[in-house]
């Protein structure tokens, strides 16, 4: 009896979910294996880093889900927001108010991007839009380098305490916990938005059938504006929450987190909101394990290399991602 036959009844029972379940089991097995061979710290560090990627990834998923565009400007939405936060806090404006200002600035940037770039290109191919968002990103980077100069800066965290929680001897700062909380709240809110509200359904309808959506009286243009403002605010949240961890400089989110966030979104299936978080965690763990394993000691840039390998593997083996379902 071939091993395939043994699996047949399980396959039949799980149906479409077979791939998801086996994928999840495989991931779990890898994590357990790493746990056993003493990579506990790497797992915790990866989980922490993965949360930031997942947060940025949520914005990417939002835009892709509702307009089919890979938004390369997502990182810059965040960076511009951080610059706004920095300017506001250095003027002595209270922190909460500064964060609000930063998010409003990010939202305005999203609005501007949508009006000036995305809407005129609404009928253009998706890859043209990709280049256009990369252009927006580059323009923001240029402005940041010009006005902000290429120097690292610090911005205060929302929660300063760093030694409240420790897992396997690694302290997780309150700011990190806040990121986890933010992801959970945002993912849940977005999932609710897309599945339970009329507006969310309208957004999905506009992405699947713009003409028909217009015909039934929903303004596709307004939906597009809404989505981009939402995405930009999400990017702003990602920036404002992650910048205090390492400090920031022009283009810091684009250069450190954008590609991991994209990889995270791809792993998650690019339309799945929890998938973005799951993908972020997988990417984070893969990166931190790759840089701590002795096996890869001689490989320069293990983090980028692991990212590339992970992306190629997932796109070759399961292009629809872990939680993407059938295409």
């Amino acid at each position: 009896m071939a091993p395939g036959d043994l699996l047949a009844p399980i396959k039949a029972r799980l149906g479409d979910r077979f791939a998801v379940v086996s994928g999840a089991l495989a991931v779990l097995a890898v994590v357990l294996f790493l746990f056993v061979i003493g990579q506990r710290e790497a797992i915790v560090l990866g989980l922490i880093a993965g949360a930031s990627y997942g947060l940025l990834g949520l914005g990417l998923v939002l835009v892709y889900k509702s307009s089919g565009v890979f938004n390369f400007a997502q990182g810059e939405f965040g960076t511009i927001a951080v610059f706004a936060l920095y300017l506001a806090t250095t003027q002595g404006i209270p922190y909460v108010l500064s964060v609000l200002i930063a998010l409003v600035v990010a939202g305005l940037l999203g609005l501007l991007t949508e009006r000036a770039v995305i809407r005129p290109l609404a009928s253009a191919p998706r890859v043209t839009l990709l280049v256009a968002t990369a252009g927006v990103s580059l323009l923001c980077i240029g402005l940041e380098f010009w006005i902000g100069r290429p120097e690292p800066r610090q911005v205060a965290p929302a929660l300063a305490r760093t030694d409240r929680v420790s897992v396997f001897g690694i302290f997780i700062s309150d700011q990190r916990l806040l990121i986890f909380a933010a992801i959970a709240v945002i993912a849940a809110a977005l999932a609710y938005f897309f599945s339970r509200t009329n507006l969310g359904l309208a957004v999905l309808a506009a992405s699947q059938e713009p003409t028909a959506t217009n015909l039934v009286g929903i303004s596709v243009g307004r939906i597009s504006t809404l989505v981009w403002v939402m995405a930009a605010v999400l990017g702003g949240v990602a920036g404002v929450l992650t910048a205090p961890l390492f400090g920031f400089a022009p283009a810091f989110l684009t250069s450190t987190a954008l590609v991991p966030a994209f990889t995270a979104a791809v792993i998650g299936g690019f339309i799945s909101l929890p998938g973005a978080f799951l993908g972020g965690v997988i990417v984070g763990i893969a990166q931190s394990v790759a840089s701590s394993l002795d096996l890869f000691e001689d490989v320069p840039g293990p983090q980028t290399a692991s990212l590339f390998v992970l992306l190629v593997l997932i796109l070759l083996v399961r292009p629809q991602g872990l939680l993407g379902g059938r295409k």
Binding site: P300, P302, L307
Partner: protein, 433 residues
């Protein structure tokens, strides 16, 4: 577009214009004076590039920048093969170029081989790595492939270029100028010769079966396959040619700088390559050469145009004026047209401009404005380049190539027609997604 192709196949091959761009032949042939005028223009361009520009206009001091422009043009043509012909996007072109640069540096300094062998091997290695990536493009297409190239570029930058034994690790590797130290003038002509070679290969490829197969592929791979075109072979071929060009460009770049290290080949460089190719105009060689040279020479342009650098430094007063005037104008027009959002944005922008201009009332902003940094040439390129890209994408999808198409058309022996090469001909509707 109603097209009747009446010219013979032979003639069309020589023109190497894609079929969709061939305009109705009205039987017009230029008079001898017309031919002479066309010839005179071509001769003038040649003289401008070879002697008038570098020696007379620039006083023979800017050979380095000019060689860089020629190299960028080669890289632009390489990217054009991928985006314009194969129909995939590469956001990791710094890897293509960097591999060529390191290959040539290794061959010349470690293996003590002459410069030309270095460039040749760099081209071959560039083609090889591109074909490997092309194999991947057969499985993963569109947006996802763009992501792969992006990740590949970063992987090359961090990992491949960090391998100590091949690239010298962080300390980089020497790549001596073949024409002697700091003797850039002959090197400029070497680069031009390579550019001519690349243009020739590109032209021949697009005028023959392979090029037409690629164009058909780009439109629709399935239809192309139905017509008996080997999709796999031609996709990999396209990647190979792009890698070949990029390898040559990288090798020339390495020897121009005299030095290669991995920090040069960053993601931003890849974005600049995409920028110059798209702004130049996909599938228009002349447009791409102009576009690439423009981005390479932007720095030089700012330094050489009288008063421009000075004016850029004064931007901290110009910008608020522009903000105030433009913002308030938008607000008024928006208000009249009852576009309330537009009016609001205009008001906010205009008020920011006004606030900056009135230092007495707002001390907070006054403190900032004194520290407002001046716009240095490098940053200027970073700001102007993306603006040009966005304007190209949104308003003139054919880029520079679209603008110069009437001139090219005239030079090829047709009547001058300003409407040749309209938007419909050059729309970037071809990238597979």
């Amino acid at each position: 577009m109603a097209t009747t192709v009446t010219r013979t196949r032979k003639k069309r091959d020589r023109d190497a214009i894609p079929d969709e761009l061939i305009v109705v032949d009205d039987g017009f042939r230029p008079s001898p004076a017309g031919w002479a005028a066309r010839g005179a223009v071509l001769v003038f361009v040649a003289v401008l590039v070879l002697w008038l520009g570098p020696v007379v206009l620039l006083g023979g001091e800017e050979w380095f920048a000019l060689a860089l422009a020629a190299i960028y043009a080669i890289i632009g043509l390489s990217l054009n093969v991928l985006i314009g012909y194969v129909g995939t996007i590469s956001l990791g072109h710094q890897a293509f170029v960097g591999i060529g640069a390191f290959a040539s540096a290794y061959v010349v300094t470690e293996m003590q081989q002459p410069f030309l062998i270095g460039v040749g091997l760099a081209a071959l290695i560039g083609a090889f790595q591109a074909m490997l990536l092309g194999g991947l493009a057969l499985r993963v297409t569109g947006l996802y492939f763009a992501l792969i190239t992006l990740s590949y570029g970063l992987f090359a930058q961090d990992t491949l270029f960090g391998i100590q034994s091949l690239t010298g690790g962080g300390s980089g590797r020497e790549a001596p100028l073949p024409t002697g130290p700091d003797n850039f003038a002959p090197y400029y002509f070497i680069c031009l010769a390579f550019l001519a070679g690349v243009v020739f290969i590109d032209r021949r490829m697009m005028a023959t079966k392979g090029g037409r197969a690629l164009l058909a592929l780009r439109e629709n791979p399935r239809v192309a396959q139905t017509f008996g075109i080997d999709v796999r072979a031609y996709t990999v071929l396209g990647f190979g040619v792009a890698g070949l060009f990029a390898g040559i460009g990288g090798a020339l770049l390495a020897h121009l700088n005299g030095f290669v290290d991995s920090t040069e080949f960053s993601f931003q460089l890849a974005l600049v390559f995409v920028l110059m190719t798209v702004v130049g105009g996909l599938r228009n060689r002349t447009g791409i050469i102009i576009g690439s040279a423009f981005f390479a020479l932007l720095d030089l342009l700012i330094r050489k145009v009288p008063g421009l650098e000075h004016r850029l430094a004064d931007l901290d007063t110009t910008i608020p004026v522009v903000l105030a005037v433009a913002g308030l104008a938008v607000a008024i027009v928006g208000g009249l047209g009852r576009h309330w959002i537009r009016m609001g944005i205009g008001l906010v922008v205009g008020l920011i401009g006004v606030l900056i201009l009135t230092p007495v009332t707002v001390p907070v902003i006054e403190n900032q404005i004194n520290e407002f940094p001046i716009l240095v040439p490098e940053t200027f390129a970073l700001v102007v380049g993306p603006v040009l890209l966005l304007v190209t994408l949104v308003m003139y999808p054919g880029g520079i190539g679209q603008q110069i198409r009437p001139i090219q058309h005239w030079l090829a022996g047709h009547k001058f027609d300003i409407h040749v090469g309209g938007e419909a001909d050059v729309q970037i509707t071809d990238v597979r997604a």
